[in-house]
């Protein structure tokens, strides 16, 4: 009898041990409170949807997601969160980083921790050079800014542009990217207007008034994703810039899916370059959007932040399978170099040299659909864009790690 109990408990203990070996702990670092809480929610839901829609790809492993709130773009809270995840929770890989300053601040800890770290949003071009363990499934600012400069000159036939940007590293990146390719294609940037910091939505009227007075063909605006975009579109409409013949263009942050409907008709005609919008016509995206509506309501929509996290989790799942659940930092990293997948944004690949994403960029225009809602109409696809900042070795992108 006693023997039997012993044997049974040993079996239970062993199976528990076995089950534990199957579980992989992943740390998610994103803002869940404060001004960025909605971004954290997008990332969280993107991961949730990936795990739900691709349950068969994860077997026989299970993923335990441990979430830490990095609150704000200060960097300090993010660094502490990463440290806790690595040293107290002993996670096998990290995912998240909405804000660039937080990724910069966390880089030394990530390097010391020697675990795979997937950036699902933060877009300053040279972040990936700050630690050899970074892999980015979101974008670099240059991914959108550089092709848009060329498209503005060639497709939109613009000769002059004014650039308005939020004054922080991604804003300066985007300005540099756009300016370089716009001027290389015969355009001229006639004014550059810093429009306050990223943390607060300013009243854009003075800045836009300045841009309007300069009478450019296109007004290129970069603002961080989130609440800035509605104010940008409102101010553009209210100052009569459209009637003055000035086209508003920018990366997809100005037409973020979650903010688009609230902008109203003032948004019609906006032209953006981006790697994702919820209207993209491909089976992967249709599946994601349908599941999203079902789980979070018909008025809810995934945006590029959700898709960055969705693909980030896909990368982690690939690394788990490739390393047989061990996720040893260097082996996990090696398995992702050159990794390809079909994402809701189209085909993607991790560039083996830069660990940054290679993906399509889509030139889109906001139109009003038959359903009375705003949609993004595809104008042109620029295939397989590699981060031009690192390709051209511009400024800090010329460095290596």
């Amino acid at each position: 009898m006693i023997k039997r109990i012993l044997a049974a408990s040993a079996a239970v203990a062993m199976s528990a041990c076995f089950a534990q070996a199957q579980e992989v702990k992943i740390g998610l670092v994103a803002p869940f409170t404060g001004i960025g809480a909605e971004f954290g929610q997008q990332a969280d839901r993107g991961i949730e949807q990936y795990l739900k829609l691709n349950a068969d790809k994860i077997k026989p492993y299970t993923i335990k997601l441990i979430k830490r709130d990095d609150k704000n773009p200060s960097g300090a809270d993010s660094k502490v969160a990463v440290q806790e995840l690595l040293t107290q929770e002993n996670v096998e890989a990290l995912i998240g980083w909405i804000y660039s300053p937080n990724a910069f601040a966390s880089a030394p800890v990530v390097t010391a921790g020697k675990k795979l770290a997937i950036i699902t949003n933060a877009g300053t071009a040279h972040i990936t050079l700050t630690s050899p363990y970074w892999v980015r499934t979101s974008f670099s600012m240059w991914h959108s800014g550089f092709p848009l400069g060329e498209a503005a000159a060639k497709i939109l036939k613009a000769k002059t542009a004014v650039v308005g940007y939020s004054d922080f590293p991604p804003g300066k990146d985007e300005l540099a990217a756009f300016k370089r390719s716009f001027e290389a294609n015969g355009g001229k940037v006639i004014d550059e207007i810093p429009m306050g910091g990223p943390a607060q939505v300013p009243d854009f009227t003075p800045f836009f008034q300045r841009a309007k007075d300069a009478k450019p063909d296109v007004f290129f605006v970069f603002i961080p994703a989130g609440d800035h975009s509605a104010a940008v579109v409102k101010t553009y409409g209210a100052l009569g810039m459209k009637e003055a013949g000035i086209k508003l263009i920018g990366p997809g942050d100005i037409t973020q899916d979650t903010k688009l409907q609230a902008m109203g008709d003032a948004a019609i005609g906006l032209i953006t370059m981006h790697h994702y919008n919820a209207d993209l016509d491909n089976p992967e995206n249709k599946r994601l959007v349908a599941a999203w509506h079902k789980d979070y309501g018909a008025n809810s929509t995934p945006d590029f932040m959700a898709v960055g996290a969705y693909d980030g989790m896909a990368a982690i799942v690939h690394a788990i399978q490739a390393t047989k659940g061990k996720l040893d930092g260097d082996a996990a990293l090696a398995s992702l170099k050159g990794w390809k997948d079909v994402s809701p944004r189209g085909p993607i690949m991790i560039d083996p040299e830069t660990r940054d994403i290679v993906m399509n960029e889509y030139l889109s225009e906001v139109v009003k659909g038959a359903d009375g809602k705003l949609h993004q109409k595809l104008l042109a696809t620029i295939p397989n864009v590699k981060d031009p900042c690192k390709e051209l070795k511009v400024g800090p992108c010329a460095g290596s790690n």
Binding site: T33, G34, I35, A37, E38, D167, I193, P194, M195, G196, G197, Q200, V201, P202, D203, F204, T205, P206, F207, Q209, R210, D213, G226, D227, A230, A231, K234, T235, G237, A238, L239, G240, E243, T258, K259, A262, M263, G264
Partner: protein
């Protein structure tokens, strides 16, 4: 001529922003002058008003102007409850206690709004008549800005009449100038203050609703704009209605001009100017000297 139009559009844009600052801050100015109470939660009432306006329009389908009235009334009502229950206990407390209490209240408001409505910005849909551009003869300008200027001027005239021509206004002026003397004349200061506080909060709510078009509306609102509200009160001089009006107009126009012509300086200039001004006149431009 072109330069003239530039200047005119700058002044109009700045005045419009200034009017919102004035409408929100005037209540803060009067309550600060009246009780010396540092109510850092004043912006929370502006936010509350803004949310009531947006939600009333969305869920009840009422128009912008009736929604503003609802925002005014409900916010004033909430502020009376808070004033009687909480604020009134701290009138004699040290300034640090008042500051800690009201900033705590701000955080409660932020969390409550995040919990109930959500963290995202709430879009406000102003009536079509107020959208677009208005032809002013020499130039076209944003209709809503002109509307705000008209509303702001109407309000300051109304307040001036109320302050200078009514018995209640005289009581407030007396209490601002010398509270103990006023009390000894048999005027019920507690009641006076409750009414003024409620009215000031209602005004803040009105400003929150009117300003949402370009200040936006999200749970961080009370902290984002707190400094601007305080600058208006400090520069205008606590307790001075016209002081707050001139200060708000001045700050609105200066801020607009500096942002337009020197955007590289960001928001820096307005703070530097405020510091210089307060070094020169600590009691504010229009405050009485201590």
């Amino acid at each position: 001529m072109i330069f003239g139009i530039d200047v005119a559009s700058m002044v109009l844009g700045g005045l419009a922003a200034g009017m919102v600052l004035f409408i929100v801050s005037v209540g803060l100015s009067v309550t600060m002058g009246l009780m010396g109470f540092v109510n850092l939660a004043h912006g929370a009432f502006a936010m509350l008003g803004g949310y009531i306006v947006v939600l009333a329009m969305k869920s009840w389908g009422i128009g912008f102007v009736p929604a503003l009235a609802v925002g005014f009334i409900l916010t004033a009502a909430v502020s009376i409850i808070l004033e009687r229950l909480l604020y009134s206990r701290l009138y004699k407390a040290a300034e640090l206690d008042q500051v800690l209490f009201t900033i705590g209240l701000v955080f409660i408001f932020i969390s409550a709004v995040t919990l109930i409505v959500g963290p995202e910005n709430q879009p406000l849909f102003i009536p079509d008549a107020l959208r677009g551009q208005l032809n002013l003869g020499i130039l076209h300008y944003r209709t809503y800005s002109i509307f705000l200027i008209v509303v702001g001027v109407t309000i300051v005239l109304g307040l001036w009449l109320g302050f200078e021509r009514t018995r209640f206004g005289a009581q407030i002026r007396a209490a601002v100038d010398n509270r103990r003397m006023t009390e000894s004349l048999g005027i019920n200061i507690d009641r006076l203050f409750t009414i003024t506080f409620a009215f000031g909060s209602g005004m803040a709510a009105l400003g929150g609703g009117l300003g949402a078009e370009f200040l936006g509306l999200d749970p961080q609102y009370p902290l984002k704009y707190l400094v601007f509200f305080l600058i208006v009160v400090a520069v205008g001089g606590p307790g001075r209605v016209f002081g707050a009006f001139y200060a708000a107009a001045l700050i609105g126009v200066l801020d607009f001009a500096l942002k337009k012509y020197l955007p590289q300086g960001g928001t820096l200039f307005i703070y530097v100017l405020t510091i210089l001004l307060l070094l020169w006149r600590p009691q504010g431009l229009f405050g009485k000297s201590a």
